[in-house]
Symmetry: C2
Subunit: 339 residues, 2 copies
């Protein structure tokens, strides 16, 4: 074992150069197949590198080349089933192209998200993926543009049209599931939507309204509520609706998580799903099929969102192309027992 191994100091180009009696430059060229080095020498160099257990210092390389082969991923909460799936798809796609990801959680905090952007910029990421970002206003886009690296929004589209994003077609998804509910007998459909500012929520409302209209049902704003996407808020809202003694036959939830809370509240009242109340939702999280009552929902293609978003970003990194692109993926209606 060489001295370097013993002292745990990493092997450098210089060490290899000394070993084979060449310059560091030549070794670099040989190792990276840059040409201008005889085949025999290249072989010798590579053999020496292997023998010495050389690990290139990517930090030095990054400094020199001004790129890190690292992309930043900002997400509100990577532990949530849906986001976790998107992140996995991102990591898989990035790894396949030789990129690593630095993951940052924001817990839905605008301030935390801006701080995360700064940290990632300081680490000189080559590009940035923002999943369900809070940076949605024009000023936020300027903020992001100021750093001169490409960025792509995922899941949640942005106000300004001149940014890249990959989302599912929320209007279509809501339209599909509400149309299905109507065709299968529901006419009075409560809608526990995402909170009001959510672009996805807005789009889902459009789809809901369009489906009503196409079926000659008047839109009743009293049936729509905006709540936070949590089990607890779904539960509380549904309980309060039931306690009011209103006639409730069908509930469309802004997301599966809300749907879980809604179902809990319904079952707690000894009501049956779907016999007394039909429940539908949005997202198709991993466990949707194994819940108290298997949940009818709209599947967002989370793998596709992560994969396509990453490919789009890496493309922009490599090409320098700044033309904004919008990918709007098709959702899929998944009918299960809750309706």
């Amino acid at each position: 074992m060489s001295d370097n191994r013993k002292t745990n100091k990493a092997i450098t180009l210089k060490d290899i150069a000394k070993e084979v009696g060449l310059s560091a430059t030549a070794v670099s060229k040989a190792l990276n197949d840059k040409g201008g080095i005889s085949e025999k020498t290249v072989a010798r160099v590579k053999e020496a590198a292997r023998k010495l257990n050389y690990t290139p210092n990517i930090v030095a390389k990054s400094l020199r080349l001004n790129r890190t082969k690292t992309i930043g991923v900002i997400v509100s909460d990577s532990s949530q089933s849906f986001f976790a799936g998107v992140v996995k798809a991102i990591e898989d796609t990035a790894a396949a192209q030789g990129y690593n990801i630095i993951l940052c959680n924001t817990d839905q905090s605008y301030e935390k998200e801006k701080k995360a952007v700064h940290v990632l910029i300081n680490k000189r990421i080559d590009g940035l993926l923002l999943a369900a970002s809070m940076l949605m206003k024009k000023a936020d886009i300027s903020f992001l543009n100021g750093f001169g690296i490409p960025f792509v929004f995922l899941i949640r589209r942005n106000e300004s049209e001149d940014t890249d994003f990959v989302i599912n077609d929320n209007v279509l998804g809501a339209y599909q599931i509400v149309s299905y509910l109507i065709k299968s007998g529901s006419r009075r459909i409560h809608f526990l939507n995402l909170y009001e500012e959510s672009p996805s929520g807005k789009d889902r409302l459009l789809g809901y309204q369009k489906a009503l209209k196409d079926n000659d049902i008047d839109f009743d704003p009293a049936l729509v509520r905006n709540i936070k996407p949590s089990i607890e808020d779904g539960y509380i809202e549904m309980r309060s609706l039931l306690d009011k003694g209103q006639e409730i036959t069908t509930v469309f939830c802004g997301c599966d998580i809300i749907g879980i809370g809604v179902m809990e509240a319904i079952l707690e009242k000894q009501l049956k799903i779907p016999e007394n109340v039909r429940v539908a939702a949005y997202d198709d999280i991993d466990f949707a099929a194994y819940l108290r009552v298997p949940l009818t929902t709209v599947r967002q293609p989370k793998d596709m969102i992560g994969c396509k978003g990453t490919e789009l970003l890496i493309n922009k990194i490599k090409s320098g192309n700044r033309e904004p692109q919008h990918l709007i993926l098709k959702p899929e209606l998944v009918i299960r027992q809750s309706t």
Copy 2:
């Protein structure tokens, strides 16, 4: 807007130095509060940095200081509910201490995991967290030790005692839940355990056996199966057991995911849980309370595992201390309707 902004070239210490008429060294000292610079100058420098929108180049800093403030996180599948929770806790804890995480998935592939280690080492991570790693043999530990950075195993303990790990007490957890099952009336308890090589599975088997023994029940190896931790494998195994017409009254599953498949198989046969078959499991994933039948299980403190593991690692990074530490956290029995 300065030329630098226009051309999108990042501001450097030199730029600030020029702006305030000092050397780059002085600026560095001022910005990092290293002392030896007058208060007035420090203020001037910081003001200039703010004005120029300076973002320190962490890559250069890393190269110079030989540390990246980045830790590598290797996990088999970050999209799985349980791991996603651990990763979230890791990220939170790391961020609070000024560290970022690079996340790598291995999909349970030994080769992929080794490759991930190499990639992370090349990126000069300061330390490594391995969740449910496949690198468990002595040779694997030598491999990891060869890189000279601290590493901590999470969830799954390692064969060699001279490595750091943070796990839950699998013997105790299994003992608790099996004891509970016995005390509440079960005597013949099927055990669909994790696959045979799993150290966690081995420990859970020990706990299972100890509980039987303490209650004067003979251990029957025929009741134990080792299967893969997937919904499908749980379903298939349970169906095959039921099809054999054996008398099955209680099933303890190696993890909640298996439990989901098991419950599906039982319900499909028109059997009732827990009236006909009682089902218990291990992990307490996020949705355990909202499954077809709310699941009795053992809660692994996933937040604690992520948090404590990260703290331990960062401690070792900072202190250089190489004494191996073992954290064995207490699990918690969670009784729900499935038993």
